[in-house]
Symmetry: C2
């Protein structure tokens, strides 16, 4: 049984106190917490101290703060689920793209945000390593995927500059950037590897996604390779953690039939 804080900083005690009230149903999902002045009076502490406690709950995902309205207990989140076929390494079939089905994501669009040649940040060096090229030989395409108009994910695509046709940097919108790149360079792409990790949103990503710095992001990285096995494309996508879940189904692989016309985002 975890200790119910009778020691330590006040704001942590208050946070645990409030969390317990949420857990026991005293503040059920959707309900409003007492206002900051009310809690301040109740705990006999300064409003800033109470705010720090509430801030802990918000960072932990337990409450949602609505400015000018109040602080509310969050309901369980519903994630979009993305099926990853553990067995198929092919991205294209018969020249047509077969993006993975995404369930629970509506009205998705992928828009190019920025195109840079020969960048040199941490992720650029990562890409260079994976593609076995110097950063100066790479072009990076950054995109933003929105769903129903709201930011859903940011992605970076790295590919050798010399493979890209001259006009490529002009294309500003596409339904699936991986497929667009594959078509532009005229190479049939297959998966080499993919990886999943979690990071805190840095300040730049936070701004583009309209979330706070430090919000958990699900990171999907991967390399696509040519038929001869040479790595060609490195992708690094950051998705607001609450919005997605990648699923590997090992038994009976079948497309779920809910969400007809499921969005294809290149996942």
């Amino acid at each position: 049984m975890p200790t119910p804080r009778n020691t330590g900083p006040l704001y942590l005690r208050f946070a645990h106190d409030l969390q317990e009230r949420i857990d026991t149903g005293q503040y059920p999902p959707g309900s409003r917490l007492p206002s900051e002045p009310e809690l301040s009076a109740h705990f006999g502490a300064n409003r800033l101290t109470v705010r720090q406690a509430i801030s802990e709950l918000e960072r932990a995902g337990a409450v949602e703060i609505r400015r000018g309205v109040g602080t509310f207990v969050r309901r369980p989140v519903v994630r979009a689920t993305i099926d990853v076929d553990p067995n198929s390494a092919r991205l294209d079939v018969d020249g047509r793209s077969t993006p993975l089905p995404v369930h629970g994501l509506k009205g998705a669009e992928e828009r190019t945000v920025e195109v840079a040649v020969g960048p040199d940040a941490a992720s650029d060096r990562q890409a260079a390593e994976h593609l076995r090229l110097p950063t100066s030989a790479l072009t990076r395409v950054d995109t933003l995927i929105t769903a129903s108009g709201r930011p859903w994910a940011v992605s970076g695509y790295w590919v050798a500059t010399r493979l890209l046709p001259a006009g490529f940097t002009e294309s500003r919108e596409s339904r699936n950037t991986t497929v667009a790149v594959a078509e532009a360079i005229g190479i049939d792409l297959a998966y080499d590897w993919r990886s999943f990790s979690a990071i805190a949103a840095d300040i730049a990503d936070a701004r583009r996604l309209g979330i706070g710095a430090g919000t958990p992001l699900l990171v999907r990285e991967g390399v696509n390779c040519a038929p001869d096995g040479r790595p060609v494309l490195y992708v690094r996508r950051r998705i607001h953690g609450e919005n997605a879940s990648y699923v590997l189904r090992y038994r009976t692989w079948r497309r779920t039939d809910q969400e007809p016309g499921g969005t294809d985002t290149g996942d």
Copy 2:
């Protein structure tokens, strides 16, 4: 080019200002930022406001704060990588466990922290749904995996109480809980599905992992099933996001030979 904040709250402007100095190498990785009083004087703002800016950078993972010492620019993190064989759904081969190789994780141990019968929280209801049983019929085993003595991941294992032998709740330590469960119930387990997502550490997990609430966690969920396909075991593991990355290799599947005696954590 992202806007260099000339508007908005002071603490965000300061945060962007400092982030830019980090990006441009004015404050290189490992270096110390000016102290809070120094920054306070430099920006001409209250120390609390400066602290709020630094707090943004810390949440974004850009700096590390060491109490009594200073605030330092973080170096790139090194993650343990866990290979996921996309093609094999079998957990046991010839009655021996074949856990997945983990690279970069040293001195791992899994210890049972708590055993509960018939719980009823959000994740318990999730488990009940996946196993198609009421929560009252389930036993949950919580474990903590440490690496070199430091917390690495917390896990929950849910299984039908009636399948477990009487003495199972006594076992306090095992090298691999999934295998221990499989042996205890005498069923050969295979993967049904696995999923990856990212969440903010809630207050309970944060305490067990020794991190702050809201820290990004990589969540691996999964169901293991019996040979006849019935779901038997539901696992939900939360790993400090910075510490792990799951990798699916689609080409030449081979065990990497670095990290000999690689730890087996049931991944």
